[in-house]
């Protein structure tokens, strides 16, 4: 009974515990610079884009699948949004709605449709579309960055609001919506059901293909929003932006306790998972550790977190 209690606590607060422990470690190692409120905001800001991507990725992994295309989708939608404003002279809000929101959703819709039509594992389909969307970005941009976006755009999506970066505000709103969808709507509950046993879900009347399509659309949508935020913060749409960002998003979801086999995971934990990634790179920076050691630390942490999770869940 005691072990079971520990297990359920771990499932709820394990990720948070890792975050707090790591924060404590860095606070001891670099007390002057790390443990300040300014730096805390800095960590959240650094993690904001990963949070956005991780929210979408979470849905894909929840079904036992994956979405490898989100980095490319973010670059693609960021580029389209910038082009619409800079070259098309479009109203920034309309450009974001068309380019980032609808554009991202459409990219995800294409992923989902291809998975449903071919029956091929999402890993392979999205590996393919990862290249396709990246190539399209390079083609439409001629491999050049797009500058000169309207100030209102960079301010609203990349500026500050009462001292808090807008990127963080947007990421938290998206996370809140995702949390609501996964916990309060039947759609969300159906996803856990499908992730747990897809065949049984089908026999219980859940339209598994529709749900999968919706999941990838959501994943693309989050990536699209992330693309707009990235372009606004940078003040430019870079064709090579967010390369490899999907691996960080996957890492955030997994460190956040999402089961790679599907059917298990929580949005708040995924957000904490993204924060942990931000915390590592920030903390190691503060301790003057070179960048390549940061990758080492992230990799080891990922393995450690998942091993720990396995060890706990095997306990009965």
């Amino acid at each position: 009974m005691k072990a079971k209690n520990f297990k359920s606590y771990w499932e709820k607060f394990g990720t948070l515990a890792i975050f707090i422990v790591m924060w404590g470690v860095f606070a001891i190692l670099a007390p002057g610079s790390f443990a300040t409120s300014g730096n805390f905001v800095q960590i959240i800001t650094q993690s904001a884009t990963i949070m956005l991507l991780a929210c979408g990725e979470f849905f894909a992994i929840l079904l036992g699948g994956i979405d490898l295309s989100i980095g490319s989708v973010a670059a693609f939608t960021g580029m389209i949004t910038a082009k619409l404003m800079v070259e098309g002279g479009m109203n920034p809000f309309l450009a974001v709605l068309l380019g980032a929101v609808l554009g991202g959703a459409l990219c995800g819709f294409i992923n989902g449709t291809l998975i449903n039509l071919t029956g091929v594992h999402p890993f392979i389909i999205t590996l393919g579309t990862q290249s396709v969307f990246r190539a399209l970005t390079l083609i439409i941009s001629n491999a050049q960055a797009t500058f000169g976006m309207p100030k209102i755009f960079t301010q609203i999506f990349g500026g500050l609001w009462n001292g808090i970066p807008m990127a963080v505000v947007i990421a938290l709103i998206v996370a809140l919506i995702c949390w609501f969808v996964t916990t309060k709507l039947t759609f969300g509950r159906n996803l856990y059901v499908m992730g747990g046993n897809r065949d049984a879900a089908w026999f219980s009347g859940i339209n598994v293909k529709q749900h999968l399509l919706m999941v990838h659309t959501i994943s693309g949508l989050c990536a699209g929003i992330c693309g707009a935020v990235m372009a606004a913060r940078l003040g430019a749409a870079e064709p090579n932006t967010a390369t490899g960002a999907e691996t960080e998003a996957i890492a955030a979801a997994i460190i956040g306790g999402t089961s790679f086999f599907g059917g298990k995971g929580k949005v708040p934990n995924v957000i904490v998972g993204a924060l942990i990634l931000g915390l590592i790179s920030n903390g190691l920076n503060m301790c003057s550790v070179p960048t390549f050691y940061q990758n080492l630390a992230t990799g080891l942490l990922l393995i450690a977190a998942v091993s720990l999770d396995q060890a706990v869940s095997r306990k009965k």
Partner: protein
């Protein structure tokens, strides 16, 4: 003739069940020994003991002059026992020759150091084995490109390569055409002439006489008789030995069903599948009755119900519920219309292992309350709890709490949760596919009671079952199928096990 293997007084207990009791069985070199019995009689268990998969609770196995209390799969192989299961275990992605040598490919040394696979050597041996079983395709052909009968020959050839002395064939002809069957029988005769002992399990009465030397009949885990085939004078004799059982009185009194057209709850007409696994099957289900569906493996019973419930491979045919025509589509549309199916494979298509009892109970109920095809709706924990609590009580699920994981329950209780799930979804017709598979006798009885009481309440109950006693015990009528075709509907007044078997193999 020399005795190859002798199994003496074998007893095998599983938790709560005695699968085999005092069974003795022997095979001589150069004979075909038929092993007969109904589903669940213990044939497979006995053969699994021979292949070392199961350890007998008591008894001895004598082979090669030595006595064993139990065999291991490895030991069984070493002694020369090969089993060809009904579901063939060939690897489609490998060639014929590679399949024969799986796990034991001969090697040669490259530059006298590096061991590499000696293709020439194994293909030569494979060719010889292929010739012995009459397999004409080149041995480099991928097994995936072969017909079922050819795959079977690959399995036999594999046994020859292993120098098997004893070959067990479990329903080898269940998916073969008549010509392929004759061909297989010729091969079996040749192997017999070479001194190989063969155990032959089959349900097809006709071929038994042509091939068998001796016959052993099992029933409820006991040996009924072992006889020379020359002592057997008719198929009838075999059937009555297989069946001859007093019906247990633990079963239930049946309702008197009024077979009037206005009492038809559910009707299916000319259901046909694209893959041909059911062809033009029609049936009616009356208010208050339990309709049984009987048939041997491959009869197309599950396939029929899957086509109706899930639209699987559906080509044509119509269904009516309460006099209203219902479109065959997806499980969702069926459920919405009140048709539900309790699938045979509880673990794979029934339960949600990552959820508690509550979620498993309310899932479909909630889905139906939601809009947009189950897509859009809010979760109401309180309501869900009420629904779950009601069904838990109605089904008498034994559990510590509703939040307990479903995987922690016994098979029978899991089954009750699944039935509860459909009742919470207001199912009008419930299709049970092998509902008592893998559950203990006590819960079985409870399941029967549940089915009968559902029928009395006016819910349509269809039960696919391979267990004769339960079909006879609780069904009002039994539809018999074979090879995807309905062979007849038998009424409770006339039905006997023999009649079912006869109807099926007609």
């Amino acid at each position: 003739m020399e005795t190859l293997v002798e199994m003496k007084d074998i007893r095998k207990e599983f938790p709560g069940v005695v699968a085999l009791d005092q069974v003795s069985f022997d095979v001589k070199a150069g004979e075909v020994h038929l092993l007969l019995g109904e589903n669940g009689a213990g044939k497979s268990t006995l053969m699994k003991i021979l292949s070392g998969i199961y350890t007998p609770t008591s008894g001895r196995i004598v082979m090669g002059g030595q006595e064993y209390a139990a065999l291991t799969p490895k030991k069984s192989k070493e002694l020369g026992i090969s089993i060809i299961y009904q579901e063939l275990s060939v690897v489609n992605e490998l060639s014929i020759a590679e399949n024969m040598f799986v796990g034991k490919l001969p090697t040669k040394k490259l530059f006298s150091v590096l061991p590499i696979v000696d293709r020439a050597a194994y293909e030569k041996k494979a060719e010889e084995a292929a010739r012995r079983v009459g397999l004409k395709k080149p041995v480099s052909t991928l097994v995936g490109d072969l017909s079922i009968s050819e795959k079977q020959m690959v399995e036999i050839a594999k046994a020859l390569v292993e120098n098997s002395k004893l070959l067990v064939m479990d329903e080898p002809t269940s998916s073969l055409t008549e010509e392929e069957t004759r061909n297989l029988q010729n091969i079996i005769r040749e192997l017999r002439a070479e001194g190989i002992g063969i155990v032959y399990i089959s349900h097809k009465m006709k071929e038994l006489r042509e091939i068998g030397d001796r016959v052993t009949i099992l029933k409820d885990g006991r040996t009924v008789a072992t006889k020379e085939m020359t002592e057997i004078h008719s198929e009838q004799e075999i059937i009555s030995m297989m069946v001859g059982r007093e019906l247990q009185s633990t079963f239930f009194g049946k309702e008197d069903v009024d077979y009037k057209p206005e009492n038809i709850i559910f009707k299916a007409e000319n259901i046909k599948r694209k893959d041909g696994k059911t062809r033009d099957v029609s049936f009616e289900l009356y208010r208050g009755e339990v309709l049984g569906v009987a048939g041997l493996v491959g009869a197309g019973r599950t396939e029929l119900m899957n086509a109706i419930f899930a639209g699987e491979s559906y080509e044509s045919g119509r269904v009516w519920l309460d006099g209203r025509e219902v479109k065959i589509g997806t499980p969702y549309t069926s459920i919405k219309n009140g048709i539900a199916m309790i699938t045979e494979n509880r673990r794979e298509t029934g339960i949600f292992p990552n959820f508690g009892i509550k979620e498993n109970l309310v899932l479909v109920n909630r889905l139906l309350k939601s809009g947009w095809g189950g897509f859009y709706g809010m979760i109401h924990e309180k309501q869900d709890e009420k629904v779950a609590e009601k069904e838990r009580e109605e089904m008498q699920v034994k559990c510590a709490s509703l939040s307990q994981l479903i995987t922690e329950l016994s098979g029978g209780n899991q089954q009750k949760v699944i039935v509860g799930k459909w009742l919470a979804a207001n199912a009008r017709v419930l299709i049970f596919d092998e509902p008592t598979k893998g559950i203990d006798i006590g819960t079985k009885t409870e399941m029967y009671k549940i089915m009968r009481s559902l029928a009395e309440q006016g819910v349509g109950v269809i039960m696919i079952s391979s267990e004769m006693p339960e079909l006879l015990g609780i069904c009002d009528r039994i539809m018999v199928m074979n090879q995807g075709v309905k062979k007849g509907i038998l009424d409770k007044a006339e039905v006997t096990e023999e009649l079912i078997l006869q109807t099926a193999t007609m």
